[in-house]
Symmetry: C3
Subunit: 467 residues, 3 copies
């Protein structure tokens, strides 16, 4: 298994030459990761990573999803109620990946894996039924070495900033401890994600309110209290280094409610009485309030809208959320976000980064919005679209309208710590390829392209995310 | 008129070289055609094909549609009430095509025609007003030769499996006779398409029920009887070699009804009383039941949803259906199929192949579904999308999420028997080109690409369609 | 600042060579501009253009939009209530563009500007903070020269036909005077755009009716009168050389109303009483009537549907319409246009040109419609999509279904007179590149491609727009 130095570059020799030079300029630049799902505690504790299956497969729904689609039951992959670490057979799970390795051909999952196994772990052999056990042993051995502990890798990966995703009730103990730690120079920032508080009418809502009340010391039994508690926690996150929030919703509807109306729904929901329509109205209002709060406190607002979550009921019940059956919805931003844009679209300092898994939105909604509102940025392709081809289509769809200055820079969005360099590398190669196509068609000079390439991995995400 | 050996291959020399080698590996592989509209009787009777116009133009709405869009009235193309074979002037119709030949430049229709005329019929001259009569005479002469009879062509085309599309009430006499025929070694399979039974409230519904009752010997005057009759005919189709069903609907809504409710609608419709909403609910329930039956009997379920049929009323009234004014609808699978996916998505052995004429579904709905459910396969681009460029976009849209293993393999979907090799050849060239792009960007090795190319024309459709 | 002779051509050397030859065939062909927003009076008066800012920036919402998205307030760009020419500081506005020049990298706005500044005005220096004042002085000097007056440029640009966009109440005095002018040989045609009359319930509607009544001498106090007045003005526009109408709407709904119903709404609206639903029904009916009138009088019907206008309320109130916050809507033609298509789709001589800012419509709706109805043409990519990449995607989306004969030819749609050659040049280069890709993949011969390239800049728009 070798990874080619020219991978992902255009085949045309002249274009490839330009892409090489542009890539060379940024290949080793520090990694800025303003959005992801790594647990800060991993870096605080700096324990060796667990076995290869628990590191690479079980928690990564990109991988388990495709194996499941080939007929591998999720419980064989270590998911589900009986899947605690003690009883899982990591080696057997790893073998399942290796025997299905061919089915990943052409996918970015395989691309990331190859980069990771070859470049991070130095493996030479390709996964296959025959090599599975050897690879498992090799990887296990590596993971036991000090050089493969989280902090060593963090340094080796040259990560400059790593943002995590955290609940407002989180005490951010790991973040705070890392900031105090003289032996750790990295910047690990919390991101405020208040999704749980947007779901009145679900069983999880009231306990979430309680946890938030405890964390904030503010009674969340009322809507007014909830807003106060959220504001208080936002301040706490800011104090801990946070610069951004994130929100994941199905609909981006942001219609505000009168306070009295929001209060009525809040109290009703606590009393166990809430209609579907009221729950939706409550969610939409909170989205509006989050924008309002961002205008006030300067936290960047990320919005990830348009995903149907947990669509396969039997799998959801047995294996829980984030197990591969979340599906892209038909997206929409222009109309549902109108209240936020009308009221805050030109507010100084407000940053709103829009992500989508519906490609039609890049050119039709997101770029036109980012091409008028100083507050709006076009988020990098997300999730199903976080792939070489889709990133190319994203650039092709938005550049006409907004150039590069109103794009977010790359977001790895990963829980797989070891895949971070492979993902950023993919983005750098893909952007270099797109820029090279502009150079060889004489739309942008190579000097200007070099400047853009540098900016996309540095100043651009720093400015967008206020880092 | 020559067809270039490198046609459809990428222009970049290095990529083209790879594409050539990949294509060479599959260029002469046997044709597997798991979905199409050829009449089995053509092969049973093995009569000479009719005149060139009746073979190439009149029955092919891809051709008549574009001629009509240029101002040629459909009756001049042999369609409509007065258009029985005896009175049509085949030569005049052929001339119309030849004089409008330039308007087909850049379309796959012209590409297929050129391949067909040059490679199947050995014509050297390009169609034009000047050459029309000569070509008509040449073609007519060829069609009279034994080597151009259906069975001879079937053998020359190297067709391994040819699936037809058939009504459940069909006696499959031609299929059964072909199976018995010692002089015919080909495999011609029926496909069960029960669309007519989904349309209570239309004039055609009750007669269809009667025909089905006669074919099955089961009373279809009740909903329960209809289901029994359909099950019985599915068994009959299976016994005749069938491995698959097909369903064509506007909406993929598959909400099941309680039996008593479906029975009420069925009886009401027979009595001439049915609302639009009830008709839609009945259709949706039948779609669900078809999936349920496929889980039971193992017949592959193909779904072709999202077409507005017969949209131009005056043309429909005068010339009937399938005359060029069917139009793509905004498609949707994720939400409307939820009942089927929740109940049968992980059922062992269930195969559900999803086709669309709305390209946005490839990446946003079909690939994500096929990337989780073992039952779901991403059908090849269909109809308006069955073209070199659209096939390339399909691969670019789905490969990131599902690689190649969850794609259906090529479907020619044609009523034009003589175009079958040209269509499969187009697909093989286009897939070779896409794979070559993965090879030269170092995402897939050439060896792996060769394996995928072989699989896409062999094991892949065999497995998906249980051939 | 140099513009490269090969700009926008494909990088692959063989394809580029073909593109060069195809482009060379049409590079200097006369410009046919069947749709745009230049004021005919500019050519009649032939006064020097105003200062560079007023010529290039302030009236061009493509430019002001992107500057605004970077944080430049619109009033600094000369927009808004206090922005009359006398008080604007053209030099300061020009400097704002120059200091933000880098942000335009990769956009077609920059591409047009570079072509314009280099090829029309002969500037050698690139805009930047340092060069801003020098460039402003150079441009100002040029604008004062006789060779840069509108008529001289019209001749130098080799414009054969230039269509403007005009209100039905317009007296077309400039057009009529130009026709009489012995010193002006160009063809400047009015286009009938009756949008204002479709908005009962807005404050602008009744005054518009009054103006139309005055222009036509027909009482527009009734719906019947409005139709008569519109018919009368269409005849007037035809007599003034007009060959086409245009309509801009959010929805393409074209459901006709009974006359009595339309009359009821008309009278109600004049009396100040109209519901939203009635206003929408009135608009839809008028759209149907416009088609009916086109069938009668032969004026080509252009339809620009699917834009949310003036979405940012505060900007709309302060700076008025067309200030950068119009946004693309989810488009639809197939269903909403059904009444027109059913009744007039095959009417002899009827031409209906469909434009969209929703790319998904090209392949899914517009090409299939144009591929059946002789009346329907696929309009060139519009507005946000009027870019090299989007034009390529348009060709890739529609050619499979309709080839080239049912496409409109290029539309520059500009208010920026000096950008006309740059825009047509972009289109010619992009079409040459697409055609070259068909040539090198052996789908179209180079001779045929040359014929198509010539047709696309000549006979095609002449036929579609009846010029």
């Amino acid at each position: 298994m070798t990874v080619h130095p020219d991978r992902l570059f255009p085949a045309d020799p002249a274009t490839r030459d330009v892409a090489r030079r542009l890539y060379a300029e940024v290949a080793t630049a520090p990694i800025i990761s303003p959005h992801g799902h790594v647990d800060a505690r991993v870096l605080l504790d700096d324990e060796p990573f667990p076995d290869p299956a628990a590191l690479f497969i079980t928690p990564d729904h990109y991988v388990t999803r495709l194996l499941h689609s080939l007929g591998v039951p999720l419980d064989q992959l270590g998911l589900g109620p009986g899947a605690d670490t003690a009883r899982r057979d990591g080696r057997a799970i790893w073998r399942l990946l290796c025997t299905h390795w061919d089915a990943f051909l052409g996918t970015p999952v395989r691309f990331w894996f190859e980069s990771e196994l070859a470049e991070v772990f130095g493996l030479a052999e390709e996964p296959s039924e025959a090599s599975a056990d050897r690879l498992y042993d090799e990887l296990s051995a590596r993971l036991a070495e000090p050089a493969f502990r989280p902090r060593a890798l963090f340094e080796r990966f040259n990560i400059d900033v790593l943002a995590t995703t955290d609940d407002p009730a989180d005490d951010l103990a790991a973040h705070l401890a890392l900031r105090e730690d003289q032996n750790f120079a990295g910047r690990v920032l919390p991101t405020f994600r208040a999704d749980r508080y947007m779901t009145p009418g679900t069983a999880a809502w009231a306990p979430a309110l309680d946890a938030l009340a405890e964390a904030s010391g503010i009674d969340t039994g009322s809507y007014a209290g909830l807003l106060d508690a959220l504001r208080s926690r936002r301040a706490f996150f800011r104090a801990a280094g946070g610069t951004a929030t994130d929100t994941g919703v199905l609909s981006a509807d942001a219609t505000p409610l009168a306070d009295v109306e929001a209060e009525r729904i809040h109290l009703g929901a606590l009393a166990g009485e809430i209609s579907e329509a009221d729950a939706a109205a409550y969610r939409a209002n909170l989205l509006y309030r989050f924008a309002e709060m961002s205008v006030d406190d300067g936290l960047v607002m990320q919005l990830h809208a348009g995903v149907h979550r947990g669509t396969h009921r039997p799998t959801l019940e047995r294996f829980g959320p984030d197990t591969g059956h979340d599906l892209p919805a038909v997206g929409a931003y222009t109309l549902p976000l109108a209240p936020i844009l009308n009221d805050f679209g030109t507010a100084p300092g407000f940053h709103l980064v829009l992500f989508t898994v519906d490609e039609t939105l890049f050119g039709r909604e997101i770029a036109p919005l980012a091409g008028f509102y100083a507050s709006v940025y076009a988020g990098a392709p997300w999730w199903f679209l976080d792939t070489p081809l889709a990133i190319g289509r994203y650039r092709a769809a938005v550049t006409d309208t907004i150039g590069f200055r109103k794009t977010s820079g790359f977001i790895d969005d990963t829980r797989a710590f070891c895949s971070i360099p492979a993902r950023h590398d993919m983005s750098r190669r893909t952007d270099a390829s797109f820029l090279a196509s502009l150079v060889v068609t004489h739309q942008v000079s190579e000097d200007d392209a070099l400047g853009i390439a540098r900016r996309l991995v540095g100043d651009q995400p720093r400015e967008v995310f206020k880092l």
